[in-house]
Symmetry: C2
Subunit: 431 residues, 2 copies
C-alpha cells in the first residue's frame, strides 16, 4: 500500500503524522490533500530515510538541489561534497543527475550519505548503459529501462523523473511552435532522438503501466518530466509545451487512479507576466497535482546570475501555487556547478520558497521573520546573525566592517534609524 | 521653464527627443506621459549631464545605486570607486547618501565623475551641518535647509529626496499601527526626532512651497521620500505607511501644478502578496506619478542576500508598474557596502528591471534576450559570454571548467540537449 492508498482509505499513517507535525499543520489537512492527489510524501518504502518530506498544497514550499557527474566532471567524492553542502544550506530534496557510466555507483554512494529524499532521472542511466552495451543510447529498450528503474528503486530512490510526455504527438505539436531554442531538456532531447531514430513511441509513455507497477511497489513518487519545457522566453507557454502538459495531466490521472503518487515538472524560461498563468494552467490540466518548477528563469540574459533570475520566477510561481522549486545555480548555461555554486543556488531558492510561504501561509511561516525583526529592533546583533539565512556570511560581513558604536552598523553609524527612534521614544515620553 | 512646463505646452525639447530615441519610443508618447506627470526626465538645467535619463510609464525600468560615506566609513576615494563600479555595471542613476561633515565636498567630487543623474537626500547635509554649527541635528531650521538645497542645486544635483510626508499627522497615524520596527528610514527618523523635539511641523512639509521654487528654478525632480516605509514584513501597507502616501499624493499634485517634476518613493519590506497592491495604491493615490521603490524586500531573513530578496520584490513591482528600482546590496542590514557589494547589488537590480521590462514591453525590450538565445542555440560561446549580464564572471566560469568538446559545456558534455537536437534534426531530415 502506498501513502496515497492509505489516504484514499482515510487511514492516517505514522509517516503522515510525522510530516504534519514538522509542518505545524493538522494531519487531517494533509491526508485530505494526499487523497485528492494535491500533496505527496517523498519516501521509498524499502529504505530507512532520515528526513522524508511532503510536497503539495497545504505544505511549505520545498526546494530541490541537483547534483551529479557529467562526462567532463566525474568524481563521486566531489558530488558527495556537493550533497553535504546542499543539505547543510537547506535543500529539502536532492536529485542525482549523473549521466556517466558510473551512474549506479555514484547513486549508491549518494544514497548512503543523503538524509533527504533522493530523486533521479532514470533515462540517464538507461542511455549510458545502452551506449556502453550496445554502442548507442538510441538502442535502449523496454527491458533495459525497467531494469534500471528496479535497480534504482531497490537502492531506495524516492522519486523518479519520467519523461513520458515527449511523444510522437507532442513532438509534432512542437514543430508547429517554430521554437527559437527547440528542446533544452536533456531527457527530452534523448527521447526525441530515440523516437526519431527508432520510429517508435517513447518507451516511458508506451510502457507507463509497467512503470506504475514499479512505482507502486516501492511507493516511489513519479515526477512527470517536462521534456518540452521552453529554453528561452520566446518559447514559453507555446503549443509544444502545452501539448506535453496535457499528456502529463492524463498520465497523472492514471497514476493517481493506480495509487501512485505523482507530481508534475514545469518550466523553464518564462517571462514574469506568464508565470502565474503557467501555474494556473498546470493546476487545471493536472487536477491540482503538485507542481515542481525549474526556476522559472524570467530572462535569458542572466548567465552567471541565473540563481537570481530563478529566485524571481520561483518566488512568484510558488506564491501562485507551485509547490516545489528546483534550484538554479550561478553556473547554469555555463558549466558543471562548483561547491560554491551549489551553496548560492540553494540559498537563493530557499529565499524564494520562504518568501512565497509568507504569502501562502502554511503552518507558522512567519515565525522566522518575526524573530529576526525583533532582534533587529533590539539591536541584538548576535541573534540577527544567528538567524540570518547564512550566518557564516553575515558574521563575515559584520566582522569586516566594525562600527565605533557596537550597537549600530557602519552603514548609518550614529544616524542609525533604530537608534534614533529609541531617542524619539524618550522625547515622546517627555511630552 | 522645466521639462514639465514644456510638455504641458506640448513643446518637444531636444532633451525629450534624445530620451525618446534612446528608449526606442515615439517622442509623442514621452511628451504625453511627462505632461500627465507619469514620466520625468532627471536633469538639472545648470549642469551639463552626460547621460540624462527618463523615468516613468512608457519608459524602460531604471535602477539607482546608492553610494556615500558614513561616520564609520568615510573616504571620498572609496566612494568614487563605488560610483565607477555602479555605472560600469549599468546603474541608470546614482544617489550620494553621504551623512558626514564632508557631505558637500564628497558631493562635489562625485558630481564631477558621475555621468548619470545624481540624487541626494538634502536632510543629511542639513542634519550634519546643524550638528556641527549648533551642537545638534535637532537644531536645523528653514534657512539652513534651504541653503543646503540651493548649494546642492548649484552643484548640479538632478533629484532630491524630500521627506515631506513625515508630519505630525502621519506620525500620529503611525502610532496607531503598533509597528514591530517603527521608523527605519534614516531621513524619516531624523525628522520624527526633529518634530518631537521642536514640537513643530516638519520643515520640509511646512516650507514645501519654498522647496518647489528651488526645484522649479533648476528643474530638479523631487523624489518624495517615504520616511514611514515598513522595515519588516509585519509593518507593510499599514496605517502609518498609507497616511504618509496620502500626504505624498497631495504634495505631488502641488508640485505638478507648479511645473515641478515629481516621483514618489516606496517600500521597503513587503510580502510578495502585497507588492502589486502597493503599486496600484501608489498609482491611484499619486495620480500615476512615477514610483521609485527600495527593493521591496519580500522577507526579513535574508541579510547577506538582500540583493536577491530585493530583486524578487523589485521585478514583481516593476512588472506591475513601478518605474524605478533602488538597488539593495548584499550588505543591507549588516554594513556599509564594499565595491563588490555595489557590483552585486547593481547586477541583481538590473536583472529585476530587465525581466520586468520583458513584461511591460517599452521599446525593443526583448532584443537582448533574442540575441543571447540565438547565440545559445548556435553554441556560439563567444557571443553568449559577451552578451551576458557580467561577461567577466561568465568568462571566468567558462574558463574554470573546460569541456573536451568545445561546442558544449561541462554540465551535460556530449549529452548537451542543443547538440542532441542538432542530431535529431538530421534524423528528421532523413525521414
Amino acid at each position: 500500500m502506498t501513502q496515497l492508498d492509505y489516504a484514499k482509505q482515510n487511514k492516517i499513517t505514522r509517516l503522515m503524522r510525522k510530516i504534519a507535525q514538522e509542518e505545524s499543520i493538522d494531519v487531517k489537512l494533509l491526508i485530505d490533500s494526499i487523497a485528492k492527489g494535491q500533496s505527496v510524501i517523498l519516501k521509498n518504502n524499502v529504505y530507512n530515510l532520515a528526513k522524508p518530506c511532503g510536497v503539495g498544497k497545504v505544505l511549505h514550499t520545498k526546494i530541490n538541489a541537483n547534483i551529479g557527474s557529467s562526462i567532463d566532471k566525474s568524481s563521486i567524492a566531489f558530488e558527495l561534497k556537493k550533497l553535504k553542502t546542499a543539505v547543510s544550506y537547506g535543500a529539502d530534496t536532492v536529485m542525482d543527475l549523473t549521466i556517466t557510466e558510473k551512474a549506479i555507483n555514484t547513486l549508491k554512494n549518494i544514497r548512503c550519505k543523503c538524509p533527504v529524499p533522493l530523486g533521479t532521472v532514470p533515462v540517464y542511466q538507461a542511455a549510458v548503459e545502452a551506449a556502453k552495451k550496445k554502442g548507442s543510447f538510441l538502442k535502449m529498450d523496454k527491458d533495459l529501462i525497467l531494469d534500471v528503474l528496479i535497480q534504482q528503486a531497490e537502492l531506495g530512490v524516492d522519486f523518479f523523473t519520467i519523461h513520458a510526455g515527449v511523444t510522437k504527438e507532442s513532438l509534432s505539436k512542437l514543430k508547429q511552435s517554430k521554437r527559437l531554442m527547440d528542446i533544452v531538456s536533456r531527457g527530452g532531447a534523448i527521447l526525441a532522438n530515440w523516437i526519431y531514430a527508432n520510429k517508435k513511441e517513447n518507451p516511458f509513455y508506451e510502457y507507463f503501466d509497467d512503470i506504475l507497477k514499479i512505482a507502486r511497489k516501492y511507493d516511489i513518487t513519479l515526477s512527470l518530466g517536462d521534456g518540452l519545457r521552453p529554453g528561452s522566453i520566446f518559447d514559453a507557454t507555446d503549443t509544444g509545451q502545452i501539448a506535453e502538459l496535457r499528456i502529463l495531466g492524463m498520465l497523472a490521472k492514471k497514476a493517481f487512479n493506480n495509487g501512485v503518487q505523482v507530481i508534475i515538472e514545469g518550466p523553464g524560461h518564462v517571462p514574469i507576466n506568464q508565470v502565474v498563468k503557467n501555474i494556473k494552467l498546470q493546476k487545471k490540466i493536472c487536477n491540482g497535482a503538485p507542481f515542481y518548477v525549474l526556476g522559472p528563469l524570467v530572462t535569458d540574459v542572466a548567465a552567471g546570475y541565473d540563481h537570481i533570475s530563478g529566485a524571481i520566477g520561483g518566488c512568484l510561481a510558488a506564491s501562485a501555487g507551485a509547490d516545489f522549486l528546483c534550484y538554479v545555480t550561478p553556473s547554469e548555461h555555463l558549466r558543471h556547478p562548483s561547491i560554491d555554486d551549489v551553496k548560492e543556488g540553494v540559498i537563493a531558492s530557499k529565499i524564494a520558497a520562504h518568501a512565497a510561504d509568507l504569502a501562502k501561509n502554511p503552518g507558522n511561516s512567519d515565525g522566522w521573520d518575526r524573530k529576526v525583526s525583533i532582534a533587529r529592533r533590539n539591536k541584538d546583533w548576535k541573534t540577527q546573525i544567528e538567524l540570518s539565512i547564512n550566518p557564516e556570511k553575515a558574521t563575515r560581513y559584520r566582522k569586516s566592517s566594525t562600527p565605533k558604536n557596537k550597537k549600530v552598523c557602519t552603514m548609518c553609524s550614529d544616524f542609525c534609524s533604530i537608534r534614533l527612534m529609541d531617542k524619539a521614544k524618550k522625547l515622546c515620553l517627555r511630552d
